[in-house]
């Protein structure tokens, strides 16, 4: 995080307006989901336990996960230690002069995949409406699930005009993007997605969404690349299903429009890249953060995030972002901007003690005399 980002955020009042509006829209829905679907709490417990089990032996589970699809036809499996290795693998698969449709994926933000693929000479499209707006603005997503939360209809219209989408209202813009992107889907050579959950038992990739762009991105192109960070590995399909249901229920209206269960199929070449990027090496106190399902509820409920959006943080902003930055080895003194108020822990479906994690990060910096000079 750059220090000036905080002041940028304070000045840009549309960030807080957008986040507070989203909060207003969603918190009742989430509370209603929790009330109506009593099984959610059980699911959360099951998933958290399973994730902790997987982390206790990442090597074994990663191997198991890789084996689960290695033997399948039409599928290549890779392992990347870090972002650089992952980008290299993707570059070898993709080559250049390709049209690439991307599902919104935080792990690809983590390794700056879109920018990289463009640099080596490809046409890359973020297909999620919010993420497309962010791409056109050349910014980072303001929230894990609602990336363009801080743009007004008017600003979105201006940005979308860059790709010839006309219109003023959200409905007109969505229709324009639908038509524009449909052509890209049909022409695309490669589709790229992340992964919400990976079943080590069957090799299935679970992805949850509302727009249908993930389904189209991962179904239409002849080549499909899935990037699976190893924290997404779960022992069974059932646990994967539970996870995607949780993710949808804890930030928004439920049920999600689509649950995708992707696996190698006739008529498509699938490439699965398992990515570590700091997860195996995470110190003990950060293990709990790895159970995060990235629903982003802690962000939207956080009083600091409500002012700054994800400008407070690195790839992942807000309370969860502090822990993730720790895992990715990029934590800076932004962790001192948390008020440790504990709201994040209170609303987290996995009950991750983020204030504890943030204080541990501070301790680490104080102890290691890592605060540095300015």
């Amino acid at each position: 995080m750059r220090e000036e980002d905080i002041y940028k955020a304070i000045k840009n009042r549309s960030i807080r307006a957008g986040i507070l509006r989203t909060w207003e829209n969603l918190h009742n829905a989430v509370e209603q989901n929790i009330e109506r679907y009593r099984f959610l709490k059980e699911y959360a417990k099951d998933v958290k336990m399973a994730k902790l089990e997987v982390f206790s032996d990442y090597d074994r589970w990663t191997e198991k996960a890789m084996k689960s699809i290695e033997s399948r036809n039409k599928c290549s499996v890779y392992y990347a230690e870090d972002g650089k290795e992952a980008r290299k693998i993707v570059a070898e698969i993709v080559g250049r002069d390709k049209i690439i449709v991307k599902a919104k994926s935080m792990v690809s933000e983590e390794i700056q995949l879109r920018e990289f693929l463009q640099e080596i000479g490809n046409e890359v499209w973020e297909t999620d409406l919010g993420e497309l707006i962010v791409q056109l603005a050349n910014e980072k997503p303001m929230h894990v699930l609602a990336p363009a939360i801080h743009y007004s209809e008017r600003q979105a219209a201006e940005l979308l005009r860059k790709v010839g989408v006309k219109g003023y209202t959200a409905a007109e813009l969505a229709e324009g993007v639908r038509k524009f992107m449909r052509q890209k889907f049909l022409l695309a050579d490669v589709g790229i997605s992340g992964c919400n959950a990976f079943s080590a038992k069957t090799g299935r990739i679970f992805l949850v969404e509302n727009e249908g762009n993930i389904r189209l991105s991962t179904t239409l192109p002849k080549d499909y690349i899935a990037i699976v960070s190893i924290d997404k590995i779960l022992p069974s399909d059932e646990l994967c299903l539970k996870l995607v249901i949780l993710q949808a229920a804890f930030l928004g209206t439920f049920p999600p429009a689509y649950i995708n269960v992707n696996e190698p199929v006739e008529g498509q070449r699938m490439h699965v890249i398992f990515l570590n990027n700091g997860r195996k090496q995470a110190p003990e106190f950060l293990k709990e953060q790895l159970t995060c399902i990235k629903c982003g509820r802690c962000q939207i409920e956080c009083p600091i995030f409500q002012i700054t959006g994800s400008l407070w943080g690195n790839v992942y902003g807000g309370p969860m972002g502090m822990g993730w930055s720790g895992i990715l080895g990029e934590i800076g003194y932004e962790c001192f901007l948390s008020s440790l108020c504990g709201k994040c822990k209170e609303v987290c479906p996995m009950e991750i003690d983020m204030p504890r994690i943030i204080r541990e990060l501070r301790k680490m910096m104080v102890r290691g005399n890592n605060l540095g000079e300015v």
Binding site: I6, F336, L340, R362, M364
Partner: protein, 308 residues
């Protein structure tokens, strides 16, 4: 953003020198009991009113934060690194505010007496808890300070403590056993006030701003409401109260007072939507939120109702 390095170092240094994070002398800060009427009603007991000095310090902190706010993100920001090391007492003289906050402490003490609770007060044993060091991740500094405080209290045979703010309560109750090996019986005043009366409607409706530590860390939000119920004072809770209460921004005021102000403004806007009088129960929340409108400390309202 003030660099945590300097913030932590100066807090640590000041606590070492004077026992409090601002480096002010205790005789300057802890004056609420001077001339206090209730003085003759408290005596020698093993239960002590332990203010943790947070109410008393807050007007000074607020004044300092005013400066930090003005200098933040300007060329003067770096100058402030030397400020906390200078004799701040000269620079900061929030006379009127100090009287107001001393008055709050006095009202809490008076309400405790009115409630029939036996306790003593020993100004020389009333220390700052060290909470800021803990929050900043300076466990070494915090441990050292907590051992010092716990030892002083033990020496004088103090076994039970009555605390008056959320941070001191949390630190003494939850952290001192672990860090200072000190098992005091810690009660917050809101947990023990009991007027044994069911009063008629007082004709006030409040909206309460629960401090995060009462709402979540200590889970004692019901206590203030129990007291209000017994005094016939109504309250209208908003969604973000109790366990879901929202922060006033105070805890980051030493790093980014500008961000603190924005957070507080958001929270004030939310609280004021009910149209009711707003009450809080933490000195830090109080100074931060009242920048945007009138706010009272709940102890002032309780005292008012009891003495009506």
């Amino acid at each position: 953003m003030y660099h945590p390095h300097y913030v932590i170092r100066s807090i640590e240094q000041n606590i070492k020198n004077t026992g409090n994070p601002l480096g002010l002398s205790r005789s300057q800060i802890n004056t609420w009991w001077e001339g206090w009427e209730g003085w003759k009603k408290v005596g020698e007991k093993d239960t002590m009113l332990f203010t943790g000095l947070l109410y008393q310090l807050t007007p000074y902190v607020d004044k300092l934060v005013d400066y930090l706010y003005k200098f933040e993100n300007t060329f003067l920001e770096k100058v402030t690194r030397f400020m906390p090391k200078s004799p701040l007492g000269i620079l900061l003289k929030p006379q009127k505010e100090a009287e107001h906050f001393n008055g709050i402490v006095r009202k809490i003490a008076d309400s405790l007496i009115k409630s029939g609770i036996d306790f003593c007060y020993k100004p020389e044993l009333d220390f700052y808890s060290g909470v800021l060091l803990y929050d900043m991740g300076d466990d070494e500094g915090f441990t050292e300070h907590s051992l010092f405080v716990a030892e002083k209290l033990r020496e004088k045979g103090i076994k039970k403590l009555i605390t008056i703010d959320p941070h001191t309560t949390y630190v003494l109750r939850e952290l001192y056993p672990e860090y200072a090996n000190a098992e005091f019986e810690v009660k917050n005043y809101l947990e023990i006030l009991d007027f044994k009366s069911k009063k008629e409607n007082e004709n006030i409706t409040l909206t309460l701003h629960d401090p995060c530590y009462y709402g979540r860390y200590l889970e004692i939000s019901d206590e203030s409401r129990r007291i209000l119920d017994s005094l016939g004072i109504e309250y209208k809770d908003i969604r973000n109260s109790g366990k879901l209460t929202s922060c006033c921004g105070g805890p980051i005021e030493s790093i980014s007072p500008k961000l603190t102000k924005e957070v507080a403004e958001n929270r004030y806007d939310e609280l004021s939507k009910t149209g009711c009088e707003i009450a809080t129960m933490c000195p830090i929340c109080l100074v931060n939120l009242r920048k945007f409108g009138e706010i009272k400390d709940i102890s002032e309202i309780i005292w008012g109702a009891v003495n009506a």
